[in-house]
Symmetry: C2
Subunit: 114 residues, 2 copies
Amino acid sequence: MKSALQAYVDGFNSGDPAAVTSLFADDAVVADPVGNPPIEGRAAIDEFYTGAVGAGAKLSLDAPIRGSHGDRAAMAFSVHMPGMRIRVIDIMTFGDDGRIVRMEAHWGPGDVES
Amino acid sequence: MKSALQAYVDGFNSGDPAAVTSLFADDAVVADPVGNPPIEGRAAIDEFYTGAVGAGAKLSLDAPIRGSHGDRAAMAFSVHMPGMRIRVIDIMTFGDDGRIVRMEAHWGPGDVES
């Protein structure tokens, strides 16, 4: 699970949205940010990450990736865009096949720096 | 919500379990670590935190506390015990009255350093 989260970061930083979306199950749910309506399914996930990676977002870990005693891994990181930094904590839940079935991104208006 | 998480950290570090448990609703659920059976309710929560704070656990933030666009806040931190460090990410969900109704601590065996 930690390897998948590292691959997620690496996919952003190499500008490769397919490397990111391939980590997700076809029926995965992505809540980014938590509190807004989530997106669901392959087409929506492909569109979301193609847009985010295409916009030039780069990710840097703020601390080592955490595992769990269950089916989740977690990471604190920063999203860097031109003139903007967003501090985020992602929680990823994994299915039995090792793909992400749920992603929840925790950040609020106060976590955006310009 | 971020103030509550900072108060949680401060309660540990000042050795005051009541300062920690007062942040929780009476019927709150605590999953620490995620993947093990959670505990629930005032008596179990009081016992859990009295034990943890009494054991001398101190917390240090690894990165600024995150909010959300919803009812959650999140933090990456380390638990310091004599001869041990555990790297954790907590997600706290809040009720309408501002008290924590659910705490989920993400850490696995690989996040413990001796």
